[in-house]
Amino acid sequence: MTTIELLIASTLSVLVLGAVLTVVTPVQAVVRAQGDAGDMHQRLRAAADALTNDLRVATSVRPYRIGAVRDDGLAGIYYRPDTIAVIGTAMTTYYWKRDTLQLMQYDGGRSDLPMIDHVVRLTFDYLAPASVPGTALVTVDPATLVDGPWTEDATHRRFDMDVLRICEVRIALRLQATAPSLRLFVPDDDIVLHAALRNSLFAR
């Protein structure tokens, strides 16, 4: 084999290898993105299941945090757009932790744990019966949830009586991919859920 033949063979090999790498590198990113998209869908399913399962059997909700630690009611806060306390056989508060982008689950005692990561938006809207019976539910104005009239629950926590009108909750959730480099391939995913409170006063 002459030097010229060796040079031609090497050049061809480098060209072929270069072509292979050009094809393989983006495919690797697609494979990673595919896995991350599956992970995001799983996080969405977990969030949707946890929230709707609790809300379905809830007797009432509060649009703020309730519990032994950092109770919003004690601080005079009666509405947060990204927080909901679900009251049923147990009392669980779900809220969005903005600084870590996590959906948190608080049991009202000492357990305050992250449930879902990479949540970029979480809002709760509340629906109640319209003043005209038989018509569609209407969205509750947050201002009406903080202006009284006030009453107390069994644990002597003060709350606005208008929350007792709430019979359905609209949850808007937006999740993003785990790695910033993958967000080009995996766009943020939005879901909107409606959960009816089967045990609310209205349901009766």
Binding site: V27, V31, A37
Partner: protein, 146 residues
């Protein structure tokens, strides 16, 4: 050399595409199973609604309560909704039991639904018949849904 490189490249692409296919298939299975689970839950709830609808036509609930726990509704979702656009494998069985506290106007309904992929969901609802209104109609109130 070129042949070896080409073979290795083909093998690499095969491995990547195989992994991608496997991930997609797994994701599809998980999504389908979740969808079936949700539909099974709604089938169970549909069974409860159907049972309440039938109980509304029964004047004397004592006859229902006296029989103890009985199977009240056995239905496939396609028959209830009367459409062919639903999966015929969704079905539910609703049992009716008397009130454990002895109230004759209270009944406990339990709907056990089954769907594809071995999905099972159960809903238990306690209902009460209210006293007659001015028109003599006795409304049914849901006391507990779980």
């Amino acid at each position: 050399m070129a042949l070896l490189t080409s073979l290795m490249a083909i093998l690499l692409m095969l491995a990547l595409s195989g992994g991608l296919t496997l991930t997609t298939m797994t994701e599809s299975s998980i999504a389908a199973n979740h969808r079936d689970g949700v539909q099974t839950l709604y089938t169970a709830e549909a069974g409860i609604d159907l049972a309440i609808s039938r109980l509304r036509t029964i004047q004397d609930w004592n006859t229902v309560a006296a029989a103890g726990t009985t199977t009240f509704v056995v239905a496939r979702l396609v028959d209830v909704v009367q459409t062919n656009s639903l999966d015929s494998r969704f079905g539910t069985m609703v049992t009716v039991s008397p009130d454990p506290n002895g109230n004759r106007d209270v009944l406990v309904l339990e709907s056990m639904a089954a769907g594809p992929g071995g999905n099972r969901r159960s809903v238990q609802v306690t209902i009460m018949r209210l006293p007659p209104d001015a028109q003599g109609v006795r409304a049914i109130e849901t006391i507990l849904w779980r």
